[in-house]
Every structure is written in structure tokens, then in C-alpha cells.
């Protein structure tokens, strides 16, 4: 496990993330154009979704899938309440900021999902393709929970339903679920056709994406470190462990395999930096947007990559059926 963590630490992906951090820290003028960053995110979501769908095409939509989705939704919706309580008790953040951060931590990170599945692959621990659908399903419930918490089910100048539509038809969910569906429909045939695009160069695109994430996180840390009190930073490390524990209980209850449990736990422990920031910005304008993003991308993401995921896999292998 330790050697796995070390090997993970020295994977090109992690190193490119670190390179991005360094470039930001050294105030290098290295930049990834915005449209390229958006393309990379699009590519990753499309690839993840399609591959998950192509695997599901073997099995169809089965009971375990539905149970897993239900567990994911419950975790995504429930976690923000826990996160909010902790933030309000342990930090000096106002209620709106706390709610916004809670929303980020209930939602999930697609790249963390990729990291855990990659590590499971190296360990030859099997997991099910349908977990991509679980990941997609876990993106938004947390956002609605954050709104409930902030007690602003309605925002000015846009009816509740308008906002619901925007969150539910969020671009990243659309592409993840859409590619999942296309993968499920076209199955092996589709995968064979698209493999040289969505599978083979995936690691390379991921490296570029993580270089970009490192730059963004590094710039966020550089600008926002004043806001990162000890209490707030500790939250970004402790909260994943709490979410992971809740997810471990859920996984045990519904009798997941070791691989599936590891993925569900990691999803719960991950914090969003694509879908949630946009939604929270719309819904909770008073929140400091940079704070949540810096916590999730600059603290929790590297923590999960280096410490969290090996731990979650270890836990999963204990509780699994």
C-alpha cells in the first residue's frame, strides 16, 4: 500500500500537477488558454462517461446499479449538512460561505474518480463500469442541499424552476451522462471505433489537465492563503475522512464489492471543482467563490491523491463482501 502511494506520488499525472503548482508559485507566465482547459475537461468527461457506458452495455441497468445510484444520491445530499455543521462550529466562516463550501464537498471530482479507478487497475481489483453513472448522479444533490442550508430556495430574478433546470442540465453532467448513454448504446463496437481517441491518449490529456489544475490551484493558494486559517485548512483534510466513513457505512450496508466500495468512498471523499463552483456562484452570490475552489482543488484534491485514495482502498477491502 505504501509503495503504491509512493508510486502514485511519482506518477506523471501527480508530477504535472506539482509542476503547475510550482509554476504558479514561481509566478511563471506559463498559461493554459481558457478554451484549451475547457476542451480538456470536456474530453475527460466524455472519455470517462463513454467507457463507463461501454462497460455497462454488457450488463444492462441492474439492481446493484440502482442501489448504488441511490446510495450516491443520499451521500451527496446528506454530506453538505454535516460539512456545514462542522464549518459553523469550528471556523469563523459566515453561513453563506459555509453553505457554499459544504456544497462543493458533497459534490464529486471526476479526476479523483479517475485516480481511484487507475489505482484499482494497478492492484487488479475489479470494479463496475456503472459507477460512472453513480458519479454523475452525485454531482448535483449536494448543490440543492447547499441551497436548502443557505435557506434561499429561491433566488432573485430567476424562478426556482429556472435554476433547477440550469443545475440539472449543467454541461458537465450532460456530457458525462450523455457519453455514458452513447457508450452503453454502442458498446464494444463504439469503443473499438473511438479507442484511439478516448482511451489511448487519455493519460496524456489527463497530465495536461492536471498541469492546468496545478496552475489554477497554485494561483488560488497564492492569492487566497490569507483566508486559509488553520481551522479551514483542517476542515479540507478532515471532511474527506468523514465523508469516506459515511460512504463506507453505506457501501457495507448495500453489500458492495471491494472495488466498488473503494470508488464510492473516494467519490464521497472528493470535492467538486467543475460543476459546483459554477452553480454555487449563481445561487449564493454572497459567497467568496475563490475560497471553496482553493480548498477543494488546492488542499483536498492533493490530499486525496496522496493519502486518501490508498486509505479508502484499504478500508474498502476490509468492509467488502
Amino acid at each position: 500500500m505504501l509503495s503504491l502511494a509512493l508510486q502514485n506520488l511519482l506518477s506523471p499525472m501527480v508530477l504535472f500537477f506539482v509542476l503547475g503548482l510550482l509554476a504558479a508559485w514561481a509566478r511563471s507566465d506559463l498559461t493554459i488558454p481558457e478554451s484549451i482547459a475547457k476542451f480538456l475537461a470536456l474530453y475527460l468527461l466524455l472519455s470517462i462517461g463513454f467507457r463507463g457506458g461501454a462497460e455497462v452495455s454488457h450488463h444492462g441497468l441492474t439492481a446493484p446499479l440502482l442501489t448504488a445510484v441511490a446510495a450516491g444520491v443520499a451521500l451527496s445530499f446528506g454530506t453538505p449538512f454535516v460539512a456545514y455543521a462542522i464549518l459553523r462550529a469550528a471556523t469563523r466562516l459566515g453561513s453563506v460561505d459555509a453553505a457554499a463550501i459544504a456544497g462543493h464537498y458533497g459534490s464529486i471530482s471526476a479526476v479523483t474518480f479517475v485516480a481511484v479507478t487507475g489505482m484499482l487497475g494497478q492492484l487488479s481489483v475489479p470494479y463496475d463500469g456503472y459507477l460512472v453513472a453513480v458519479a454523475a448522479a452525485m454531482e448535483t444533490p449536494a448543490i440543492f442541499a447547499a441551497l436548502l442550508i443557505a435557506n434561499r430556495g429561491e433566488t432573485a430574478h430567476r424562478g426556482r424552476s429556472e435554476f433547477f433546470r440550469e443545475v440539472a442540465f449543467n454541461g458537465s453532467i450532460f456530457i458525462l451522462l450523455g457519453s455514458f448513454a452513447i457508450g452503453a448504446i454502442t458498446g464494444e463496437r463504439g469503443l473499438a471505433l473511438l479507442k484511439p481517441f478516448i482511451l489511448d491518449p487519455f493519460a496524456g490529456f489527463l497530465c495536461l489537465f492536471l498541469l492546468d489544475m496545478g496552475l489554477v490551484a497554485g494561483r488560488g493558494l497564492k492569492q487566497g492563503w490569507r483566508h486559509l486559517t488553520l481551522a479551514v485548512t483542517s476542515f479540507a483534510v478532515i471532511m474527506p475522512l468523514i465523508s469516506a466513513s459515511l460512504a463506507a457505512v453505506a457501501a457495507a450496508l448495500i453489500g458492495m464489492s471491494a472495488g466498488n466500495a473503494a470508488v464510492l468512498i473516494t467519490l464521497a471523499a472528493s470535492a467538486s471543482y467543475i460543476a459546483a463552483p459554477a452553480a454555487m456562484r449563481l445561487a449564493l452570490p454572497a459567497a467568496n467563490p475563490a475560497l471553496a475552489l482553493t480548498l477543494s482543488l488546492g488542499v483536498t484534491f492533493p490530499f486525496n491523491l496522496l493519502v486518501g485514495i490508498p486509505l479508502y482502498i484499504a478500508i474498502a477491502s476490509r468492509i467488502a463482501h
Partner: protein, 104 residues
């Protein structure tokens, strides 16, 4: 100078995710048109931000502007404030001359 006609140019700096909402309000205020320009980076009272490397629009601001008849200004400003009142972003008004006044 009789061939030039006075109109007002209203410039709004607003969060990118609110573009649609603001456009709907401008439509409701019957402006003759509007244009949206990208902003690369900026600084305000709270934060500096940059669009570089961003995967979502959540951090971005955009610059919308519309040229309107002076008689419309108050109504348009009202509509704009409805969207940006509790938010970052701001609006300015300037005099401009136009050649084809019937467009506005």
C-alpha cells in the same frame, strides 16, 4: 452637427454565469440590442481573478453594453440593478453620438 444624434451607452460588468439572466432583463426592458465582450482578468474590491485555465465560467466576468435612447436609460438601469444589486459587477452610463438614430 445636426447629423449626429445623442444616445446613451450603458456598460455593464457582470459575472459570466449571469449573462443569460441579464440578457433576459434587457430584452424585457426593450433595449434595441446588446453585445457581450469577454474579460480576461480583473480586480475588484475583494479579489483578483483570471479566466486563464478555468474549466468553468464560474470565475469569469463579462462586459455587456447596449446603446439606447436617453429616454430608456432609467428603465434599463432599473433592469440591470435588479440583476446585479446584491452582487459584484457594476454599470456605467456615457453619452454617445450616432448616425442612424432610428436603430436605437
Amino acid at each position: 452637427m445636426t447629423k449626429y444624434h445623442l444616445k446613451k451607452r450603458i456598460d455593464i460588468v457582470v459575472e459570466a454565469p449571469l449573462t443569460r439572466t441579464l440578457a433576459n432583463q434587457l430584452d424585457a426592458a426593450n433595449v434595441p440590442g446588446y453585445s457581450v465582450l469577454p474579460i480576461l482578468e480583473g480586480r475588484g474590491m475583494i479579489n483578483a481573478w483570471t479566466s486563464e485555465g478555468q474549466v468553468s465560467n464560474s470565475a469569469n466576468m463579462v462586459a455587456m453594453f447596449c446603446v439606447v435612447d436617453p429616454a430608456q436609460v432609467d428603465a434599463v438601469i432599473e433592469a440591470v440593478l435588479g440583476v446585479i444589486r446584491d452582487r459584484i459587477g457594476f454599470v456605467t452610463i456615457a453619452d454617445v453620438l450616432v448616425v442612424r438614430p432610428e436603430r436605437f
